[in-house]
Symmetry: C2
Subunit: 163 residues, 2 copies
């Protein structure tokens, strides 16, 4: 399969939050994002991977300005849904590879993760859709990540949008 990777985007105005040990039952994700929405907190990336022993973790990103408000809301969320705890990191960036059929080609994800690994960049979070693979990395590594992805996928620097 040919790869149609068309560009790289990145956003440094990102803070990540993770809520651990929420009960894995219907309605929990609704409660969490309803409470964040009621405070008008814009959430960007949301990821939840598989459950273990009836509990799950949900992570998401917000704009750095919303971090304080989001942390106050999380304290309430934990009491309402009965979670085990939370973590946050205000110094992260989202770096995304964009193109058609991104995930259907098994080599694209490995190439992206490999390019970051070559620069010793740790991947904090991952979310994919059919046209995009997004990674959360340390804020200080964003520019390096963008540069090595351009090189790895032979893209013009000009194709990069900062958002």
């Amino acid at each position: 399969k040919s790869m149609f990777v068309t560009g790289v985007t990145y956003n440094k105005n990102v803070a990540k939050l993770g809520i651990f040990g929420v009960p894995d039952q219907p309605g929990i994700a609704y409660l969490i994002f309803k409470m964040l929405g009621d405070k008008n907190i814009n959430v960007d990336m949301i990821v939840q991977s598989s459950m273990r022993e009836g509990i799950n973790d949900i992570s998401f990103t917000v704009a750095q300005d919303d971090l304080r408000k989001a942390l106050e809301t999380i304290e309430e969320i934990i009491k309402v849904v009965g979670a085990k705890g939370y973590t946050h990191d205000p110094h992260v960036a989202m770096v995304s590879l964009v193109g058609a059929g991104m995930t259907s080609n098994p080599g694209v994800a490995a190439m992206m993760f490999g390019a970051l690994a070559d620069e010793d960049i740790n991947i904090d979070m991952i979310a994919t859709s059919d046209i995009k693979i997004s990674c959360i990395v340390n804020n200080s590594k964003a520019e390096t990540a963008v540069k090595v992805l351009h090189k790895k996928f032979n893209l013009e620097e000009a194709g990069c949008n900062k958002n």
Copy 2:
């Protein structure tokens, strides 16, 4: 913000796999998806949320035909990267809400999760991008999920693509 939700898509040819307790250091995600790619296993959704105590979980979905091959590869992956274990479920479906500015509007995610909660549908995995929110649910609930999302977002049934 107005919502530009344009449609619902779903795919029942989905199996999910989760690798638990991988070391959270550069190069691990690369190794996992390189090993899957070398066996030519098409991976669809990939999600990894926040790390805890230096370890992380990575979940992904494959086509049901690839599940057996993927499970054999995971056994090898666990030995190579030193993971704690894995889980899989061959009876899942991916249901996605598609539209512009999906995640920037805090209400959209809550409305989607709420519509599924109203039908007692548990959300196994979540991944978002700016134009799509995807949920993994039990295979037997896919049609109900699609129906209630059309209703909740006032969409025409005709707008639904099965892929």
